[in-house]
Amino acid sequence: MLPTVLSLLGRRLIAAIPILLLVSALLFCVLRVLPVDPAAMSLPPSATIAEIEAQRREMGLDRPLALQYLIWLQRALHGEFGRSIHYRRDAGALVAETLPATLELALTAMAIAGTLGLCGGLFLFRLRGTPFETLGDLSSMLLLSIPEFLWGLILLFLFGVVLPLLPFTGRLSPSFMRPNITGFLLLDTLLVWRPDMFWDALTHMALPAVALGLAFSPMIMRVLRSSLFDVYVEDFIAQARLRGISEMRILLAHALKNAALPTLTLAGVQFGFLFGGTLLVEIIYSYPGLGNLMVDAVRNADLPIIQTAGLAYCVAVLLINTAVDSLYLVLNPKLRER
């Protein structure tokens, strides 16, 4: 199985290179049509026109767009993504600092979405043939119609304002000194063995992660349910019944395994979208991740950061898709031989 997975990873890596080049070129072009002058913005307001011109030349802004892109690309390959105009720091470093926070949020949310989707899908399927079937279907439709930023606000309102149970800003209470080992706060607090701090970080994570998870679970529920319907008309289910296997066991041991695969394919795409959804949830909960960095950069027209953060989102989506496809390969015995 390992060689198959490795060859998939290899193929994916090769396919990802042109995609990333195109994505970066696209980002570059979109951001260069802006009516702002990065050179003028990177200098103090007292700068003379001659100084701005010199800065423009230094930043390569007087050259053709294609050449500018190649220069940017060459620097990017050496790990230099330009200096943030607003923070006056290296954009690559800023993105690298905030990325773990967003990844941690996204992974927790994916776990929640997966769990809710699995339980909800099984529950919806169990409702088939009962008077509650349509009710279940319509409720899942209603859940589907509540996007992540509305869940964020609803949970903030319910558990932050009406019943102030959970914190809703940042990643950690200000009284704690944040350990900095991997950047993944839940992991770091366990590494330095501070259960109190781990708990604090977990309560801060709860609302944003649940908001995201709730928003992305209905789609998984609905696809799992319809895949289960497809599986249940197969002969092996009828045969399992004839063998006297209990309904519960047929559902969990026989049908679920087969229905999980199409669901996983969809979940992969959904997780890519979920990663984008972190941006909104981060804004709502003032969570210091890539999303807040990106939105700040958008408000300040901070091009190097928008570009680097945009690229980071794409890399993350490609990685998530590859991980889900590898998982698919591991779980699907039919694909192992080749």
Binding site: V23, L156, F157, V223, L266, G276, L279, L280, G310
Partner: protein, 285 residues
């Protein structure tokens, strides 16, 4: 009325979904007639009023006022206008662009198919929120820019699904027969293939309208959507967020409005999907 249309209308989901959509559409169309106030009119003496049914409420403002004393109900009604315009125009635009490319790719294949397929790959590697945000940075704010951004982001939804559908339909015998009868490519696509893909197209369109409402709300929420002088639900939410303790209703009303609009389009789309018997897991966004 043809039997197919009446059967479609008999589905409860379609009726309820369509009813809600028509209600929102009427609000949008008749906004100047039914809104009790001008949505931009500020009453600085009566700010953050609660809804009329609470003890401190004022009958003049049925749903209360926001932090600048603007009438919430009027802003909701004018916000419906923004949402519906975006939903309809942006979805139709995305449908046109995506389905034309989808039909061309699925029917002709070859180099066009390859190029469009790679473009779809690139688009799919962007989370839609991020792509629309970046586009809004490039385009600037405004209703037309929001519509443009949604078209440029969401054409892939139509293109992917329709391409694979057209691939299947093109293999059918009646399409080959049409070609043998001397139909041109244009005639084959419009007279033989399009009628077969139309149910899918209409279903996707309805679901895309739900997506468009959400995207418009998100962009306005982040402050990159419509201009500040246009009323939009996302913008109302962003304003009300700062006054969540003093006046939670400010936040809840536009949230309800978005949920109602999105579930109306989703319900309609799901009803149409069932009525047309379109079976596709890919419909999932």
């Amino acid at each position: 009325m043809s039997p197919a249309v009446s059967a479609t209308l008999r589905s409860g989901r379609v009726v309820i979904g369509l009813g809600l959509v028509l209600f929102l559409g009427m609000c949008a169309l008749l906004a100047p007639l039914i809104a009790p106030h001008d949505p931009a009119e500020q009453n600085l003496l009566s700010i953050l009023l609660p809804p009329a049914w609470s003890p401190d409420g004022n009958q003049e403002f049925p749903f209360g006022t926001d932090s600048l004393g603007r009438c919430i109900l009027s802003r909701l009604i004018y916000g419906a206008r923004t949402a519906m315009v975006v939903a309809i125009v942006a979805s139709l635009g995305a449908m046109l662009l995506g389905s034309i490319l989808g039909h061309v790719c699925g029917y002709f294949g070859g180099i066009v198919d390859w190029v469009v397929g790679r473009a779809v790959d690139v688009w799919m590697s962007f989370p839609p929120v991020i792509l629309s945000l970046v586009l809004m940075v490039g385009l600037g704010t405004g209703l037309d820019k929001v519509i443009m951004a949604i078209i440029l982001v969401d054409w892939t939804r139509f293109c992917r699904v329709l391409r694979s559908e057209v691939l299947v339909v093109t293999q059918r015998d009646y399409v080959t027969a049409a070609r043998l009868l001397g139909f041109t490519h244009w005639q084959t696509i419009t007279r033989e293939i399009l009628p077969a893909t139309l149910p899918l197209l209409i279903t996707l369109l309805s679901l895309e309208m739900a997506v468009a409402v959400v995207v418009e709300a998100i962009l306005s929420f982040v402050g990159l959507g419509v201009r500040a002088d246009e009323a939009a639900w996302g913008q109302m939410i962003a304003d009300a967020r700062q006054y969540i303790y003093q006046s939670p209703w400010n936040l809840l009303f536009p949230m309800f409005a978005i949920i109602i609009a999105v579930s109306a389009f989703n319900l309609l789309g799901d009803g149409l999907r069932r009525a047309f018997d379109v079976r596709l897991a890919q419909l999932a966004r």
